[in-house]
Chain length 166, copies 2
DNA sequence: CTTTTAGCTTACGTTCACGTCAAGGTCCAG
DNA sequence: CTGGACCTTGACGTGAACGTAAGCTAAAAG
């Protein structure tokens, strides 16, 4: 089992992003620690292992998670938040450790990476559109609210229906 | 059944975004038309109706979708792409047609809108991070590939099995 | 007039992503 | 040495989001 090329290992990626001021630089984690840190259940972590998303070592029976495992988990949860399935996430993670440096393999990987990027860009645009829409609506509602509040303060009388757009 | 206030109806929102040069300004759609347009199944549309996401009128037995229904469907699919559950989406859609103009209701709605906005912003940031990460990786892999190709061109030795696309 | 097309309802099946017991192993404090 | 705390592997259950098949109606097309 050649541990392969591993272009960029997640240690680097996540450890950079996750630089901690405090001195907690633990190299290994138990399943319970990770579950608590990322607010998921033990079952979930075992399930992810079952699906090949994480590969913790063993100390006897017990799972031992490296920083790499932890970083991968982080990516998994990120992926989930933005709507990817676990299998999609596994495929994406697998791209990170290509099994060899064959030229054709690299080409395939590149294509898939780029594909993934455009998917993500589309997704981001969708979200931005949604944000814009919501913001506009917020503005309108806020205006309406101020108006209502003014009315309410002014006349303590009857309420008439004020609008009907359709 | 007072059809209520409906602060911003989706007609406006989506019709703006969806301004078509051609003159196809159909006011009503069949289930099949919508299914084809948005590339989903009839079952899906009926399912969404069951879940209260869309409310087509009926012509006898047959469903008749208005532009409003169509716009809502669009929002549903957008929501799905960015990882929301159908119930979350329904809640968000419900915010669009508030049942009355009570001040407290408006306040509640405003809060939920703003909450939704920050969720979306977080999501967008996640995605942007992922894109950045992937782009960096692409750069690295592309460099590696160029290097490999150069090596290969240099020594015209043996042809080892070059492909295996499983 | 039959067949195709499009739609309907009812209802069971499926996949994903876990939840929830059940039944037990290991180690440490009291 | 006994009770927690923490871990293990099954295995069945569950909610979400549909798929799929069966059997019916109504209209259009050949």
């Amino acid at each position: 089992m050649s541990e392969a090329l591993s272009i960029l290992n997640e240690d680097d990626l996540a450890d950079v992003a996750d630089f901690r001021g405090d001195g907690s630089r633990k190299p290994y984690f138990t399943i319970g620690e990770l579950a608590k840190e990322f607010d998921c259940t033990l079952r979930t972590l075992r399930f992810y292992e079952d699906k090949g998303l994480i590969n913790p070592k063993r100390d006897g029976m017990n799972r031992v998670y490296s920083r790499r495992d932890r970083a991968r988990l982080k990516l998994v949860l990120m992926g989930k938040r933005v709507g990817f399935s676990l299998t999609e996430i596994r495929d994406m993670l697998d791209l990170y450790d290509l099994k060899d440096g064959q030229v054709t393999q690299l080409r395939v990987a590149l294509n898939r990476f780029n594909g993934q990027i455009s998917v993500l860009e589309k997704q981001r645009d969708d979200i931005e559109q949604a944000i814009a829409e919501l913001s506009r609506t917020v503005a309108v509602v806020a205006g309406l609210l101020r108006q209502k509040e003014a009315e309410e303060a002014e006349s303590e009388g009857l309420l008439s229906a004020a609008s009907a757009l359709d």
